[in-house]
Symmetry: C2
């Protein structure tokens, strides 16, 4: 007996009209029944932010034929929470895909990324989840080379599921030919911030955040290495942040608590 | 020869006028030279958000005598980035403390918390970092029982440092007597969201995010257990999100990439 079509939640952080999500919707339409919930405006760099202090809007929109779509006034994480609670009403989708992000979310970027945080929230909700990102920030980015890889990766996740507490962070290089898929660890890197300081018309200072990506990791098993060598990188990530290896050392510390 | 006083960066997410940060500043003034950079308005639930699409303000304020203080228009993570780049100018502080948060950041809450994300950003900048949170959301919260514990924990971190890539998530129960300190792992839990749906005066729907904390973990080595048993919980956390244990399984998958 043929299994019924999987239900697939599509989210992103660049907003519901971004070209990247359009490509992801097209690929997912071939694989299952698609429901889209995406921010009504760009939400890059929102990390795992949620909206507490103000109410949220969730409105149905018709953008692409035959696809159930909603725009949300909140963050990427809010989109997933609203989808689970108000659209699926507890009957979870079989897959949650986020992206395709305009710009890479490899290495340390995963922690700042709204795309990845939406996928993390999917995983917290125990939905097999994947974030996809492509190395091109522009509106005119050509995502076509990513398509067969997205399909292959999503098919494997639908087939095998993912270990509880984990999800996938997938990044694509912007090269004429993507050589294949590498399973990687996240490279160790950080941003060296440089704030561009300016004067406003009222002579008050303001700052624009800019920065330089600093790689501190020459490993050949990292996402940065894979991307530099023209592979799509697949990093399994987890949302339990406990540094288990540090517990033993901390237990040797003597805390001198002096109560007044 | 006596070592010069440590330089301590104090940040938070409840905003520069919150009672919690005042207590943290008072405790840190006894231990070193304090510099405060905090949001000019409450930023709870901001997670690891950064400000990309608009400029930032950073202005000196005088709130507490003898303390160098700045308010920032951005997120908690922006505060740390601006402090490192524009105030310390690369000469890193010896310690970064965030809080005291009004409300717990134990278990899964660490991922949504602006308090913890500020501390995570400190750790990314290789500054020994600690986030402190107390189980009382109110403005009138009485943080006095936390003080000796904060001092004892910060003293140990200044003494020993922390393993690279790790930081501490410290939570205090709201009980008459805190029994002591437990080194813990993060409990497995999630929020079961419930959106409170309402109609605005124009008859359009809107939603308030609410939820119920669902603990799926009966372990006696968790932060939830420690807090329920009247201990302060100390969880070492890490910002590398790679799920190393999942890599072997993923390497057995056969990806069927069908290029067009």
């Amino acid at each position: 007996m043929k299994k019924s079509k999987p239900v697939i939640l599509v989210v992103n952080d660049d907003g519901i009209t971004a070209p990247g999500i359009k490509v992801l919707i097209e690929v997912m339409k071939d694989m299952g029944e698609v429901v889209v919930v995406a921010p009504d405006s760009p939400q890059s760099g929102m990390g795992h932010a949620i909206t507490i202090g103000k109410p949220l809007r969730l409105d149905k929109v018709e953008l692409y034929e035959g696809v159930e779509m909603y725009k949300c006034s909140g963050t990427p994480v809010d989109c997933v929470k609203l989808a689970v609670n108000k659209i699926f009403k507890g009957k979870k989708p079989d897959l949650c895909v986020s992206g395709i992000n305009h710009g890479l979310n490899h290495s340390i970027n995963v922690i700042y990324s709204g795309t990845m945080s939406a996928a993390v929230e999917g995983a917290i909700e125990k939905i097999p989840s994947i974030g996809f990102s492509f190395d091109d920030f522009t509106e005119g980015a050509d995502f076509s080379r990513c398509r067969p890889f997205i399909k292959a990766i999503a098919a494997q996740v639908l087939d095998h599921g993912l270990a509880e507490g984990t999800l996938l962070n997938v990044n694509f290089p912007n090269v004429p030919t993507i050589k294949g898929i590498k399973i990687c660890r996240q490279a160790q890197a950080k941003w060296a911030e440089e704030f561009d300081e300016r004067l406003d018309p009222h002579k008050r200072n303001y700052y624009w955040l800019t920065g330089v990506f600093q790689l501190n990791d020459q490993g050949e098993d990292t996402d940065v290495w894979a991307l530099s060598n023209h592979y799509a990188s697949v990093v399994p990530i987890q949302f339990d942040m406990t540094a288990h290896h540090a517990i033993t050392t901390l237990n040797t510390w003597k805390f001198d608590v002096q109560k007044g």
